[in-house]
């Protein structure tokens, strides 16, 4: 039986690589995409999520529209410099055919988890507002969610959107703090590992040889993302592998080594969005998060290429 997942996403260039990889993986059954702001505003990411399910004939997978704003903080720092104003590298793709379902993202998450108790993994690769809303409205789902595997945060390396914060957590630090206290198992795939997985120009070239709808789309939307990584991090055409690493974890968790530790999220001031691992358990007691600390980079890259180049 393939693993049932819901991808909560703000597509997004690396979201696109992640979602197309997931949709092409027989180990995973994508029950739906839920949209959120982050790489672009929610209106835009919802359209992109629809484009992604339609890209290779997965039109039957529902897309539920998520929150337009963070739980409590102001909406700021939309990453149009990273992913383009349209979240798709400024490529101005044609409008999708389909529409989001009537249910909001949080309602879709609640209903789906309750329909398959103990079976669904939530895979948020954007800010955690929808997940937090679902947990707040229906706390009973926490014991019914099999696991939350999230892309976000960092406990051992510098931030990306600020010196201390990773962007997904920064965009809704309160929501992240709620998720880090959820009673279901939570796996954090953060910058600690995603910055170790580097997609090089050579890697992309090999990927693009496949010339299928997925790799053709990635090829088209990639330049803005590469340009950002070069301008900001001096990577000369290479990029980090954020969201796709979370999907790789879902397919083959053995590619990662995790450590179990309580994680706290700062919600105020300069360090807003900073995720702190309480290694020596000095703060108030809190459930542990499984934090990915080591990764088999070539294993992740090979896996993604194998799926996308089919």
């Amino acid at each position: 039986m393939p693993q049932k997942i819901i991808i909560d996403t703000d597509p997004g260039v690396d979201d696109t690589i992640a979602i197309t990889t997931a949709l092409r993986s027989p180990e995973l059954e994508v029950l739906g995409l839920t949209s959120i702001f982050g790489n672009a505003v929610t209106e835009t990411t919802t359209q992109n999520a629809l484009r992604l399910v339609e890209l290779e004939g997965h039109d039957s997978i529902p897309v539920a529209r998520g929150s337009e704003v963070p739980l409590l903080m102001e909406l700021e720092g939309i990453a149009s410099d990273v992913h383009g104003r349209d979240g798709m590298g400024n490529t101005n793709l044609p409008a999708p055919k389909g529409k989001p379902i009537e249910k909001s993202a949080a309602e879709f998450i609640i209903d789906t988890v309750r329909a398959y108790p103990g079976e669904v993994i939530l895979a948020p690769v954007g800010p955690l507002t929808n997940i937090a809303l679902a947990l707040e409205i229906d706390p009973g789902i926490a014991s019914l969610i099999k696991k939350i595997v999230l892309m976000g945060g960092t406990v051992s390396v510098a931030g990306n959107i600020s010196p201390v914060a990773e962007a997904n957590i920064y965009h809704d630090a309160h929501a992240a703090d709620i998720v880090m206290q959820a009673s279901c198992p939570v796996v954090m795939v953060g910058l600690d590992v995603t910055e170790q997985v580097i997609m090089t120009p050579q890697y992309f070239e090999e990927l693009f040889e496949a010339e299928n709808p997925a790799t053709n789309l990635i090829k088209r939307i990639l330049p803005v993302y590469q340009e950002y990584h070069d301008r900001f991090r001096g990577m000369g055409g290479s990029t980090h592998t954020h969201d796709p690493s979370a999907i790789a974890y879902l397919i083959d968790p053995d590619l990662f080594k995790t450590q179990s530790v309580p994680v706290f999220v700062e919600t105020q001031g300069h360090c807003k969005g900073k995720t702190t691992a309480d290694w020596h358990r000095q703060w108030e007691s809190r459930v542990d998060t499984e934090v990915c600390m080591e990764v088999n980079s070539s294993g992740v890259l090979d896996l993604i290429k194998e799926r996308l180049a089919k």
Partner: protein
């Protein structure tokens, strides 16, 4: 018929407010959503269902959020009794609890009746904040929101700075106050002092000899005692019913104004404080209205009418 929705952490004064709405002939209460506050939401929903049944109504009662957005709950048993109803331990109502979550039911009701619903909030604003995040469009589809909460001109009650409903979930209050909902804040101060029911007035209410008057006084037994012993107030204070009275007859609020109002969520001593910029020193546009004065006799007369 005027359409109402009541969001409540049903304890004793909430119950009286619900009774007032349910016993108003030209008001149709479409639903009651219960939130964690005075008592856990499950107990609150029992109390709300008992109250509806007492009034001979089949009003749908929904359970909503069971804890504040970012904080641990703090129950008000000390004020309302262990059942929230003056330790009357009323029997379980036969009116069933609706299966649907109150947040979703509220969103559906507003969307199905755009521009028509008067919302009356009697507890922490968790449910309404969650609904606004899920469905921001409803802010403009609510005709008016009357909120029992805050303290604009006097001291707080649970802390020197803060009133209970706002203190329990200040983050939710901040969301609601800045959402664009047309909202009148009816602060705690309006049930104090002369707005209390004196011993003589309570004796008169008892002489009505109706189940509604008895219920009003009985379920508030611990509230009356605590109000007098702890707050040194003259008699029975009914914050939620004052707000309901204003919602039922807006002329009972005799002085109101629009201001920029924010909610303190961080302060060391002041979290939950409602900060009203009456002088306009922040230069920020007004977001809600504040009730400054009520017609005390009119409020009391309205309650008398409903429990006779």
């Amino acid at each position: 018929m005027r359409k109402f929705w009541i969001d409540t952490d049903t304890a004793s004064d909430d119950a009286v407010a619900i009774l007032m709405a349910l016993r108003t002939d030209d008001v149709d209460v479409l639903g009651i959503s219960v939130v964690a506050g005075n008592v856990p939401a499950e107990q609150g929903s029992k109390n709300a269902r008992y109250t509806a049944e007492l009034c001979g109504k089949k009003t749908p009662v929904y359970m909503g959020a069971t804890h504040p957005l970012m904080r641990e709950p703090e129950w008000a048993y000390f004020f309302h009794g262990n059942d929230g109803m003056g330790n009357m331990n009323y029997p379980e109502a036969s009116l069933p609890l609706q299966k649907e979550n109150g947040v979703f039911a509220f969103i559906e009701a507003v969307r199905a009746n755009p521009g028509e619903i008067t919302l009356v909030t009697l507890g922490p604003l968790t449910n309404i904040a969650l609904a606004l995040r899920l469905a921001p469009d409803i802010a403009k589809k609510i005709s008016m929101c009357y909120t029992m909460g805050g303290a604009a001109v006097t001291l707080g009650n649970v802390t020197p700075a803060a009133e209970y409903n706002i203190y329990i979930d200040p983050e939710a209050a901040k969301i609601v106050f800045h959402s664009g909902i047309p909202l009148l804040m009816v602060g705690w101060e309006h049930c104090m002092g002369d707005a209390n029911f004196s011993a003589d007035e309570m004796k008169m209410m008892r002489s009505f000899n109706t189940k509604y008057a008895d219920f009003t006084l009985d379920c508030n037994a611990t509230a009356i005692a605590t109000n007098q012993n702890w707050l040194s107030e003259p008699g029975l204070a009914l914050p939620d019913p004052v707000t309901m009275a204003v919602a039922l007859d807006s002329s009972i609020c005799t002085e109101r104004g629009s201001y920029y109002v924010d909610v303190e969520t961080i302060g060391e001593a002041t979290h939950g404080m409602t900060v009203v910029d009456k002088l306009g020193v922040t230069n920020k546009p007004a977001n809600i209205e504040v009730c400054w004065k009520i017609d005390i006799q009119a409020w009391k007369n309205l309650l008398y009418e409903r429990i006779k």
